[in-house]
Assembly symmetry: C2
């Protein structure tokens, strides 16, 4: 069975290729590459490729989608780090994009990556014999990234700052949109690319939703509990900023319970795939360091 | 014959409809609507619709593309006005998006509009019987808006600040990418939607390129010559900022010559359409106040 790092390595190489042959101005290209190729777990793109492989789809055809998902993730981090948003100067131990390239160029690098994501998917669609499949897949990615998905979550997240108490509904909304959407819709896109739009679409949607909420809750816990090695975050940042987090809303104990519940829900959702779903059951347990 | 204001009125109503039925968070929706529905000439979208009508295409099917073009234009203006970019506090006599909603929400309103543009085109593609046509049309829009088009132009424009002397190549590059691309690629998309990919594609590409360069040169001239009524710009801003403009590179006299040359090139390019191309020949002359 392939592991996360097998897929991640493949994504890394594909992104490197995707960003070499181009007519992008040198400065813009450098700013885009700086954030896109700066490591990261390649979680969302790897899950998309693993899902396509699990459903006997054409992995080669899915590669531009995997790249697009990483481009969208990178753009969202660049814009998230800007002054006026989270105003962060470090990400994964490196200066953030605007610290290196200036605010203006960082805004453009993000805009460029979002556009590039669609250009990549469209280039794949142009080459395909089944254009409808691609349109359905692209529509899923757009839905997850857009103003009813990730951008919606960021908007509410930003407008909820300094409201540390209460806000259970807001927290759910932020987790669902800002975090879970970019797991849900890439996996739904994988289903569309494979023409698997029945129980597989439902099962992977449920899995990805549980995965996303668990991921965000565990991330919030790490911010106060330490062990940043696991999810690679700096400790205490969100807590200090007064943002809504699972810990600020539920407290540590209840947040831990939720992690367990989301894990169970994710494992339950992937069951219909049987042994073929092993990548996904292993992955969700690995995320929170549970035994296999 | 329909005029610009006929098409513009139709676009306005379509945008209003496009932005009502949605699950976008209220604050994000408000920020997106503020810039999208704040007037403007609806030039790019009207030209797209007029081209589809001229080529006997399905105007109804093209409406989401017209909306998408305006969404992309609005997003580019929001991000352009941000601190770190042009840092403008007024646009069309109203406070800019970030002045009203804050920098963070303005960044997200721009991101939301760009995503929404693709969602609209994809929704049209999902409903169509000829998906390939839509993929080719969307690829044109993405190309024009992206890191080899409009965003490329903005990057070079921003990095050329304070280099007022020389820079003919840079000026050409900025005019072509920042300005002309969002005329060229919407008209190319119109050709794709109509399945007119031969001489029509070439003729409209040439027309739009001439139109875009003329538009930007005339705009630069207005900044120093006054008569802001014509193109609706504030006077002297770019000159004061030290950006490359047609006037700073060529001087007023030569810039005026270029306007005439671009006008002639545009009129020449539209000729193959004969009487059917009248909207476009009238439009380009109207832009610079020439007799018909």
């Amino acid at each position: 069975m392939k592991t996360l790092s097998d897929y991640a390595g493949f994504v890394e190489a594909s992104l490197e290729m995707a960003m070499t042959d181009n007519d992008i101005p040198e400065l813009l290209s450098r700013a885009m590459r700086y954030s896109l190729l700066s490591g990261g777990k390649r979680l969302r793109s790897s899950m998309l490729l693993a899902a396509v492989e699990m459903m006997d789809g054409d992995v080669r055809e899915a590669v531009p989608y995997a790249c697009a998902v990483e481009m969208i993730h990178a753009y969202s981090l660049i814009h998230d780090d800007l002054p006026g948003m989270d105003d962060d100067v470090l990400r994964r131990g490196k200066p953030t994009n605007h610290v290196v390239f200036g605010v203006g160029q960082a805004i453009l690098a993000g805009d460029g990556l979002l556009s590039e994501a669609f250009e990549h998917m469209l280039a794949a669609a142009l080459k395909s014999d089944s254009p409808s499949k691609h349109i359905r897949a692209m529509a899923e990615i757009a839905r997850g990234a857009g103003a009813r998905g990730m951008v919606a979550g960021q908007c509410v997240d930003l407008s909820c700052e300094d409201k540390r108490y209460g806000g259970r509904d807001e927290l759910e909304y932020i987790q669902e949109n800002k975090t879970a959407c970019m797991f849900i819709y890439p996996l739904r896109a994988a289903c569309r690319l494979c023409g698997r739009e029945g129980w597989e679409l439902e099962a992977l949607t449920d899995y990805a939703r549980a995965f996303g909420h668990m991921f965000q809750t565990a991330d919030d816990l790490l911010d106060v509990e330490g062990d940043p090695a696991l999810l690679g975050k700096s400790v205490g940042k969100d807590e200090a900023s007064g943002k809504l987090t699972a810990v600020s809303v539920y407290g540590v104990e209840l947040a831990r319970d939720y992690v367990g519940q989301y894990l169970d829900a994710g494992l339950e959702a992937i069951k219909p795939f049987g042994e073929r779903g092993r990548f996904f059951s292993v992955l969700i347990k690995d995320m929170v360091g549970r035994d296999k």
